[in-house]
Amino acid sequence: MTIGGEAIQHQRHQLRLLRRAVALLLCMAIVIAALGVTAIRRDADALLHQDVLSELLLWGAVLVVVVVALVGTYSVMADFLFWEGWLNGLPNPAHLFAAPTADDRGHRHYLVYLDGIHQSEECHPPRVSEFLETLEEAIEADALLVKGIEAYTIMPVGLRATAYARWFWERLFALQEHHPNGFVRFLCAFCVQANNVIKVGISSDRRYGPVMNYELALKIARRLEAIGFHPSRAARVVLVGYSGGGEMAIGTAAMLQKLCHVPVQVITVCGVFSGNGDLSSVDHVAMVVGSRDPVAALGRLAYPGRLPLLPLSNWNRWQRTRSLHRISIEGMNHNGASGPFSVAYRAKVVREIVRELELTSA
């Protein structure tokens, strides 16, 4: 046998060995898998028993409550660290509007738009941007629409630029926008929305709400100051809040009024709000609601402060002294193709907002 032939034989022998090893490994994998399936089946059968299912459900519920509580507590902690001044950036409200700022365009009415819980950064989704453009064209020349305020962060900057969790949010947004797997994108979007839902919860909490709402009001006031707002020239500030933004608008209205020294009014669009916010000094609140909006209807049940069952809630007390303008739009849903930003309903919602502005401008 030649040297070349020996090498080929050696190679064949190696390949045969390798094939046997692979076959052996495959057999072992199949045996392990079979054993595993049997064990899983046995466990799965055991899981189907009533007692085990009840125990699993109980522990699952306990785990959910504990995790939700811990996440909520962490979120509150960030708000309170900001309040303590440990994260820097909480300005002295006495210094607001100290110097006359230059808004020589003659704006007297400032509409501040607070987006829903889908908001992840300062710029709005395309559909919301188109709605805001329509609104901007419809309002009077002496009114200015303020867009791009992140309603669910307390810092003057967005989540992407927060000092203590920048890496986390940048990574999350990148995954949300660019990951090829749809499930990962959905999961990241869910995390962003969960953060915003938590902020809505904190804003509506009777213990933590005042501090968080104050911080958001301060953020809005600083933004207004930056674009030339001054109490001596302005007539009013109108907070327009969509969905969870409605809670943020109602929560901050009284604080913003104190900080800006002008009347503040609220218009909610498909608003989900608690009715715990202190509205005693706010004269005008209007709700634009859709007749087919299940989210806003659910919000009313989730927050008993808006039900007549609790007559001493802030919302019910406010309604006894002021009149709420409730504008219902037939067929409108909370979002999507028949939501307030859709082509079908955008113009109607804008028309109602403008009408409300005219009614209350006197």
Partner: protein
Amino acid sequence: MSGLTSALDSMASTLLAMDAGIGLLVAVGISMSASHLFALLANRLSPRQIAFHMLIDALVLSLALTLGILCHSLMLLLIEGVPPQPITLANRMLAALWPGLFYVLVAAPYVSDLIAVSLLGWMHLNVLLLLHARYGVPLTEGLLVSAPGFSLALVLIALLFAQRWRASYNTLAKEVGG
């Protein structure tokens, strides 16, 4: 119904087997005190002041729970004719407070009421079960025996928490007014 009875029996036997000392009372007080840590933060206190207030609050809350147990002792004397033995009763009833160790979770927003009501209800149920197991008081009569002590403890806890939050709102009002 039989499932509920066996669950209550199982809870009672667990409570009877528990060796709860005064440490549990203080631990529950600390957990309750920690649940309103943010009220102290909202008051703009320094870390040292916060630690001091938390300790004082923990002791006050433990005292409120002890007063509740003393009240049970009085009610047992009045209704069941059990001779007043507050220290023995406290030793026997302290185990009922163990769910209070999780009271710190009440600090969470939006689920706080659910957690607080569940934990307080659980503690109250434990008291009823222990009264039944130790003194043979039926559960319905136990409600009457434990109601004043439980109400007193709740009122004291609520007053302490309300005072702390009221002070924090005043701090906020000063900030905005300034």
